[in-house]
């Protein structure tokens, strides 16, 4: 009896445990199959938005007093869990110093305060919606913030004609996942209001994977040998704006940044 147990039941149990584990693992892989667009590719068309505090700080952070006393709790820093895998951003020593300086002076240094184009990946998780318009040749991403835009080339990869704020995007499908390779970004953009930054050597690989009818998983692998000791990754869900008549409205924010940028140059007697 004992022998039989060892000989057959335990191996049987082991197999069962193995199968169960395998099933659990595969459940973590995307089993959802996205609806198809007219050209047979996964259909990512829609208005999407991140619902988190990543734009405040990619890393985990407690609530904090906001930078403008007169706004009180209305513009306090909301708490949030990290969207960074392992919660560590692997700065090189000198870069870590610069990050802390950025953070200490973020209200004046953050490109978002000036309504500058946000770059990638920040455009995705700014607290504004963006819209994906998908054709077989190109996928246009229109961001409400600052009217930022990029056109993802879905054909044979092309080379950037020059560096830009929003970078140069070449996309491809890997199963249900839209993979976008983003290069040639200027070093002027940040990742968040916490001063996380990069150089002109930034290379971002984004992955948009449908996980249900109204959610996507967004992942971005960030590589920049001038600033980070190794590539690192952020991950978050994106939610479809399901409101009837949902649409992007105009957020041409230049006029909201002008007082900050040019206010000290006003004629003294004019105000």
């Amino acid at each position: 009896m004992r022998i039989r147990l060892r000989d057959s039941v335990i191996p049987g149990l082991t197999t069962a445990v193995f199968l169960l584990l395998a099933a659990m693992l595969s459940a973590q892989a995307p089993s959802y199959r996205a609806p198809r667009a007219a050209d047979g590719k996964p259909n990512l068309n829609g208005i999407w938005q991140a619902v988190n505090t990543a734009d405040w700080d990619l890393q985990g952070h407690a609530a904090a007093k906001g930078p403008v006393a007169s706004l009180g709790a209305a513009f306090a820093v909301p708490p949030g869990l990290s969207v960074v895998e392992g919660d560590e951003i692997p700065y090189l020593p000198a870069a870590a110093v610069k990050k802390r300086q950025n953070q200490a002076n973020w209200t004046t240094l953050d490109p978002e305060s000036k309504c500058y184009l946000p770059g990638v990946p920040r455009a995705t998780y700014l607290p504004y919606p963006f819209q994906i318009v998908q054709s077989p040749q190109n996928i246009l991403m229109s961001y409400e913030y600052a009217g930022a835009v990029r056109v993802v080339n879905m054909g044979a990869p092309t080379k950037a004609p020059g560096d830009s704020w929003m970078g140069w995007s070449n996309g491809r499908w890997e199963g249900d996942t839209l993979v976008i390779d983003v290069t040639s970004m200027l070093d002027n953009t940040w990742f968040d209001r916490a001063g996380n930054f990069h150089s002109d050597a930034l290379h971002v690989v984004e992955r948009y994977t449908p996980r249900s009818a109204d959610t996507l998983t967004y992942e971005a692998t960030i590589e920049d040998p001038k600033v980070f000791s190794r590539p690192w990754k952020i991950s978050m869900p994106l939610y479809r704006r399901v409101e009837k008549d949902a649409r992007l409205l105009e957020f041409k924010c230049v006029e909201f940044a002008e007082e900050l940028m040019y206010g000290t140059l006003r004629k003294k007697s004019s105000n």
Binding site: A38, N43, Y116, I132, S135, W165, E250, Y262, K267, N271
Partner: protein, 341 residues
């Protein structure tokens, strides 16, 4: 001058780059069938069966917005006349004004930011139709502005007079990179700056990306109504529909600052996009604003298919001009004050 300098400086990078890649037909070549609609042509369809307007287009043209007075009611040139006009442009001396040709930045200016400086080839400028003006109809000019509209615009100008350099708020929308001339709708060509427009279509939407200031319109074609009147936008609110092979876009909800050629916030704009051939799109618009003009008026601009890429035009991000202008004004004031003491 300030405005000109900014337009030139801000556009410099884009202009220089575009100059090398935009392919244009030889001067004098016209898209005559495009404007007459004489030839039946079936446009390609998107995967979901809608007319396919996609691609990168240029609205470059030599045709002036308004018809030269001397032409009276003459709405079209003959083929021969277009060839001769184009030849005059090609062989014209720098600085020479040519009636019937809108040279725009190709004309040398007091401060030399003309196209030659950027490597443009004046001989590549071309007419894209036989029209004598982009505005259609027997008059070929914008109808006279109503007295009330003239007063409204004069009052605005008067309010700013003497305060032009007080703060950023007194500077023009284009200088501030809020709304540049060519991105403002309806879209009218600047003679030769980066007039690239890219159209991308998805199910239920047509998007139009204007290279100038990366201006992007996401136009729904699902029959939804306009935004409530209480929501006003610089570029208004656009909703589209398909009429046969034509995309018809209706726009209202402009701000009272948008002022297209002196219009009010009640401007009602109807744009029609129709592909006329593999490489031609007819862009037609009608503006209606009873508070400004006694009757609606219409313009027609042929677009030509061209090669990309569409460059990023980060106007605000590179705008050092507002700071320079205002600082200059403050320095002058201080100097005047010192001199007075």
């Amino acid at each position: 001058m300030g405005r000109r300098s900014l337009a030139s400086l801000a556009a410099l990078a884009a202009v220089v780059l575009i100059a090398g890649v935009v392919q244009v037909p030889a001067a004098g070549q016209t898209a005559s069938s495009a404007t007459t609609g004489a030839k039946a042509w079936t446009p390609p369809r998107t995967a979901d069966g809608k007319p396919d307007l996609q691609g990168i287009w240029s609205d470059n043209t030599l045709t002036p917005f308004e018809r030269p007075k001397s032409l009276g009611a003459k709405e079209f040139y003959t083929d021969q006349e277009v060839v001769e006009l184009a030849k005059r442009v090609r062989e014209g001396r720098p600085g020479e004004e040519i009636e019937g040709a809108q040279l725009g930045a190709a004309n040398p200016q007091a401060v030399r930011y003309d196209l030659e400086l950027y490597g443009f080839d004046r001989t590549k400028l071309r007419y894209t139709s036989k029209r004598t003006s982009l505005i259609v109809g027997p008059e070929g000019v914008i109808p006279p502005m109503l007295p009330q509209a003239r007063e409204r615009n004069a009052a605005r100008a008067a309010k700013n007079k003497g305060h032009e350099f007080d703060s950023h708020e007194q500077r023009s929308l284009s200088e501030r990179c809020i709304l540049m001339g060519q991105e403002a709708i309806p879209m009218t060509p600047g003679a030769n700056e980066g007039n690239l427009l890219q159209i991308v279509q998805g199910p239920g939407y047509v998007t139009l990306l204007h290279e100038i200031d990366h201006s992007t319109r996401v136009i729904p074609t699902d029959g939804r109504p306009h935004l409530p009147q209480s929501i006003r936008q610089w570029q208004g609110d656009s909703v589209g529909r398909w009429e046969g092979n034509t995309l018809v876009v209706d726009t209202t909800n402009f701000t009272n600052m948008t002022a297209f050629r002196g219009s009010s916030e009640n401007l009602h704009l109807v744009e029609r996009f129709t592909r006329a051939s593999d490489d031609t799109m007819i862009y037609q618009f009608t503006v209606e604003d009873p508070a400004t003009w006694a009757r609606p008026w219409t313009a027609e601009i042929p677009w030509t298919k061209t090669k990309g890429p569409v460059y990023e035009y980060a106007c605000h991000e590179g705008n050092t001009m507002i700071t320079t202008i205002l600082r200059g004004a403050r320095v002058e004031e201080e100097a005047a004050l010192k001199k007075g003491k």
